[in-house]
């Protein structure tokens, strides 16, 4: 291995069978210049301490598995170059999530929130096969495309101050996903989702701190989606006095 110096990794450890609370453990890792943070974690796991637990899969910022706090900031560790950091690098599990073990967080709550916004196409009337595929123009696609680039890495939840304060908050990724379907020209389920959006923990719980958009590794703008959803939600609410539910 080409040695490019040694860095000290301060890694959060938590064993649910032994530890009362998370603690930290230090590792000296000989790093290469082109390494990402994930490479160093894999080195620790393979060469220094096989008991370390962390999630990862694709190594190319697509799967969204390897989100962790690196020096206090939520980062995809496969996309975060080690050369951006000094001799001491702190790695911890994503903030705002219960910790299952070491760097692995409990994501059941996140999956439930995703499901709550009905992230699928809802059609008022099933189209007959003879009518052909449901086509979209590039302009119609452009209205929601950026929101469909989310990889569910949960960094936005780790950065969000409202998630830390409001346990019922659906959170940035889920609300942006719901908005993505509301903006989809093939979808007729916006009224159903607006009901969810204006409930407890919906879009109006968002304080527009914008931290979610700052940390997104895929340049999705969840805070923009949520603010737009607020406006559309109010319009949907006002429209419900004029047009009965189901009417369009």
């Amino acid at each position: 291995m080409n040695g490019q110096g040694t860095k000290t990794f301060v890694v959060t450890r938590f064993d649910p069978d032994r530890d009362e609370a998370p603690r930290t453990q230090e590792y000296e890792v000989p790093v290469r210049e082109d390494w990402k943070v994930l490479d160093a974690l894999n080195y620790i796991k393979d060469e220094l301490d096989p008991t370390l637990s962390h999630r990862w899969s694709c190594r190319m910022a697509v799967c969204g598995s390897c989100g962790m706090q690196v020096n206090g900031e939520p980062k995809l560790t496969c996309k975060t170059a080690l050369r951006e950091y000094g001799d001491r690098v702190e790695v911890g599990p994503l903030a705002n999530f219960p910790v299952v073990r070491d760097l692995v967080i409990e994501m059941e709550g996140f999956l439930e929130r995703l499901k709550a916004v009905k992230p699928w196409i809802i059609q008022a009337k099933e189209a007959a096969v003879i009518e052909g595929t449901n086509r979209q123009t590039p302009e119609q696609l452009a209205e929601f495309k950026q929101y469909s680039m989310c990889i569910n890495c949960m960094l936005c939840y780790a950065a969000c101050p409202v998630v830390a304060n409001e346990p019922d908050f659906l959170g940035p990724a889920a609300l942006a996903l719901g908005h993505r379907y509301n903006q989809d020209s093939r979808d007729d389920g916006d009224s159903e989702r607006h009901e969810v959006f204006r409930g407890d923990g919906g879009v109006f719980a968002c304080s527009f701190a914008n931290e979610c958009s700052e940390v997104c590794p895929k340049n999705v703008d969840p805070s923009k989606a949520i603010q737009q959803a607020k406006l559309l939600n109010v319009l949907d609410w006002a429209r419900s006095f004029v047009v009965p539910r189901g009417g369009r």
């Binding site: 219960p98 409990e106 209205e143 101050p161 304060n165």
Partner: protein
């Protein structure tokens, strides 16, 4: 310095399969990034409420037609505390307005019903013009140039 996150942050509806550690808060929560400016922005609502209440009170007294009370109110405006409040409100609400106008284009979806959203430049120029004209009008009225 960090405050604690809620222990039930991002919890699922069913208990997890193993014991879990409590969530950690984001670093420097809640003093990091854009959080405090937003809190200040939201708090300006209280200021708007107070200023609105003052204006309503003024209109109420004007409607009564009692000149003595009207004069007494204007006399109270010379109190140092009121002048401090007025200066603070002026600075805070100007900041609030600028921030609101800066954020506003981002909050507009590409389409509202059948109407497409105008380009950002048109949006910002329109909002800027509305702000300038309304400020000028208020200035002219308060300055006595307009009845």
């Amino acid at each position: 310095m960090s405050l604690r996150a809620r222990v039930d942050a991002m919890k699922g509806s069913a208990p997890p399969r193993t014991r879990t550690a409590d969530p950690a808060p984001p670093r420097n929560f809640p003093f990091r990034g854009n959080y405090l400016p937003y809190v200040a922005f939201g708090s300006c609502g209280i200021l708007l409420f107070a200023v609105g209440f003052g204006l309503l009170r003024l209109v109420w007294v004007l409607g009564d037609g009692d000149a003595t009370r009207w004069k007494a109110i204007f006399e109270s405006y010379r109190h140092p505390l009121y002048i401090v409040f007025h200066a603070f409100a002026l600075v805070a609400l100007t900041w609030f307005t600028f921030r609101f106008f800066r954020l506003f284009p981002k909050t507009q979806p590409p389409k509202l019903g059948p109407l497409p959203r105008p380009p950002d430049a048109v949006f910002l120029i329109g909002l800027g013009a509305a702000f300038t004209v309304s400020t000028l009008l208020v200035g002219l009225v308060l300055g006595g140039a307009l009845p």
